[in-house]
């Protein structure tokens, strides 16, 4: 039992289970999944489908956070990627031609790789603090996305492009398969030495350099991967609604992604990361949003709930907070203990 409680997925899973349980009590047919025209329909499928862009972005963010970094520009990359793909498709002669879709998707993915590379270069080569380095692209990227779309919402009428975000494969939404693929690639870091390198760079870049890890390359790689994830998320998001909106697509995604990472148990101080935790964190956020919609509370109230979730999760993770609570619950006090904590902290 003790081991179970200590497991890093225990608390996130509890929260998710509690949310789902609440939904079940509130509307008993929450878990019903119906088959319709060869597609599965149901609230659970919706959560997976609508949550997939967030999961993707959060996976990329997890690796960045593991190196003690942060990537604020993901929301802008989401917008740029969707805008570029939609623009390229809308300019084409035949919006349903497979070649055009492929070129547009590759263009968007390639661009997001370059944007990720830009972030990575600023952080690793120029040595700028991650939060500031990615702030540049966060501010400018939103402008670039609006420049690409011309401030309008670009709509495309391509059934093939819409398939990426809303089509279904083997009765499940196609986006879920994209997420699984990316998650598997990310999980490869756990099977190779790369995961260890990422964690060591997050703990101490200088020490890992001394130990022979090419810290700069590792940092570069995680930012490129994060850009890639955000780019794919942008494709999913824009193809789901068959349009690109430079102003609002991916707005505040960076915050949701960071929230998912933190809920999943990855510390913002770097040095360790839990990809499965992040996925559960993202699912918690999406379930929360769905729940709030379902209860009929104005969706804007989600922000208040999110605020308390962030705060609660952070407080639980904070050593100082736990120590303060532990002290309150303790019945015996030793004078020497106080002396030690005073000198150590």
């Amino acid at each position: 039992m003790g081991r179970l409680v200590k497991h890093h997925l225990f608390w996130p899973l509890c929260v998710l289970a509690a949310l789902l349980l609440f939904n079940l009590c509130y509307s008993p047919d929450f878990f019903t999944i119906t088959m319709h025209d060869g597609h599965l329909y149901g609230s659970l499928i919706d959560i997976l489908n609508f949550g997939s862009p967030l999961i993707l972005v959060a996976i990329g963010m997890t690796l960045v956070v593991a190196t003690k970094g942060i990537d604020l520009s993901v929301g802008s990359i989401v917008a740029i990627s969707g805008a570029v793909a939609c623009l390229s498709i809308s300019k084409g002669p035949d919006q349903n031609s497979l070649a055009l879709i492929l070129i547009s998707v590759l263009l968007a993915v390639g661009l997001s790789l370059i944007l990720g590379l830009w972030n990575g270069l600023l952080v690793s080569v120029a040595g700028i603090q991650p939060i500031i380095a990615t702030l540049i692209l966060m501010v400018a990227g939103r402008g670039i996305a609006q420049l690409v779309t011309g401030g309008q919402i670009i709509t495309v009428t391509s059934a093939k492009y819409a398939y990426i975000g809303s089509g279904s494969l083997a009765t499940l939404p196609f986006s879920i398969f994209v997420v699984i693929l990316v998650l598997l690639i990310a999980l490869l870091t756990r099977r190779t030495a790369l995961g260890l390198f990422i964690e060591s760079v997050g703990c101490n870049p200088t020490a890992s350099l001394m130990a022979g890890v090419r810290a700069k390359w590792v940092i570069l790689a995680v930012y490129i991967f994060c850009g890639l994830c955000a780019g794919i998320a942008g494709l999913l998001l824009s193809s789901n609604v068959s349009s690109a909106d430079g102003n609002n697509a991916g707005l505040w995604y960076e915050l949701d992604a960071i929230l998912a990472v933190v809920i999943g148990g990855t510390s913002l101080n770097g040095g360790r990361y839990y990809l499965t935790g992040t996925v559960i964190g993202a699912l918690i956020i999406q379930t929360l949003t769905t729940t709030i919609y379902m209860i009929g509370v104005p969706p804007e109230i989600t922000l208040v709930v999110k605020a308390f979730v962030v705060l609660a999760v952070c407080l639980i993770q904070s050593d100082a907070f736990r120590a303060a609570f532990a002290a309150r619950w303790k019945t015996r006090h030793y004078p020497a203990e106080k002396e030690i904590t005073r000198h150590v902290s």
Binding site: L147, E300, L303, V304
Partner: protein
């Protein structure tokens, strides 16, 4: 080199402002006038007030993401109390300022006592304040109380036929008070010390806890004051006011030459950082054909240049080795 290294960023900022203003004056007729200069203050008064609060936070080595939401919440509370409950503005405004300060100090206390990163705590604050706006109302509340319209329309004439608004005067007073606080009070020195190195500040016996909480209190106060100024400017309360404003504010502070690692920078730099953003917007509106998103791209570029400049200065200098 006769010029002290530490003044280079602020000198670059001021020069950049002068060059941009001169370029605008040569290019567009009617640009070179005192009124255009004054309009920079009139239109950016709330940005200036917020950026001053943010400067202190960044100087202390922290960051405050909640400023935009606190502005929105202030406009919302003012609007609902004045319009819907009919409270007198002279009661509402101090109440709003108190609310902002309390909000900031709560965040500061959590940051300090529970040792959570400022980024995350103020992020939660941002969500909370924005959400509370919608709890009050989802729609815009227009303010037509005579006090607010009077303040909004009052023009203070200056020699040369130009004028300032009351908001701009408030902003200038805030800047003056901030410069005094930063450079001539104990609190100001403590903030710089805290930003330079928290551990050292603690070992020197400086009141780290008090300073840290006060810095966020100050930022919350400035944000709510900016919210009050914003209600004079927009004459409405709305939950979507000042979305993404925290980025503009941080950008203004960075362009003003303040190091985001803390400990280095000047409030005067922030003042010019705000003016530079104002000039960019003015040039774009004079150009007419350029769209508003160019502002974001240009600000992004400027951020890049200034951050790189700081990086070169701080890594090349013997005095400071950035972490």
């Amino acid at each position: 080199m006769s010029l002290n290294r530490k003044y280079i960023p602020i000198v670059v900022t001021i020069l950049l402002f002068l060059v941009m203003f001169a370029a605008g004056s040569f290019r567009y007729t009617g640009f070179f006038s005192l009124q255009v200069l004054m309009n920079l203050l009139v239109d950016n008064a709330f940005l200036l007030v917020t950026a001053v609060g943010m400067s202190f936070v960044i100087l202390s080595g922290g960051i405050d993401l909640s400023v935009g939401s606190v502005i929105a919440l202030s406009t919302m509370i003012s609007a609902s109390l004045v319009q819907q409950l009919g409270w007198p503005p002279l009661v509402v405004i101090p109440l709003v300022l108190l609310m902002g300060a309390a909000f900031g100090s709560a965040m500061g206390a959590i940051i300090h006592y529970f040792k959570i990163q400022p980024f995350i705590v103020t992020l939660a604050g941002m969500f909370l304040a924005r959400g509370l706006c919608y709890v009050i109302s989802i729609d815009t509340i227009t303010i037509d109380h005579p006090f607010y319209t009077a303040v909004a329309q009052t023009k203070i004439p200056l020699p040369g036929g130009s004028f300032l608004s009351i908001s701009a005067v408030i902003a200038l007073i805030v800047v003056a008070a901030a410069i005094y606080t930063a450079h001539y009070t104990r609190f100001g020195r403590n903030v710089y010390a805290l930003g330079g190195n928290e551990q050292s500040a603690l070992l020197m016996g400086l009141p780290v806890a008090r300073t840290k909480v006060l810095v966020y209190t100050l930022s919350g106060f400035c944000s709510s004051l900016a919210g009050v100024v914003f209600t004079f400017y927009m004459l409405s309360g709305y939950g979507l006011h000042a979305v993404g404003f925290e980025l503009d504010t941080i950008a203004a502070v960075v362009i003003g030459g303040t190091l985001l690692t803390g400990g280095v920078g000047y409030v005067l730099g922030t003042f010019f950082g705000v003016l530079i953003q104002g000039v960019i917007q003015t040039i774009i509106s004079f150009e007419g054909t350029l769209s508003s998103w160019w502002t974001k791209i240009v600000i992004g570029l400027l951020l890049f240049v200034f951050i790189l400049l700081q990086r070169v200065l701080s890594s090349g200098g013997p005095a400071r080795k950035s972490s």
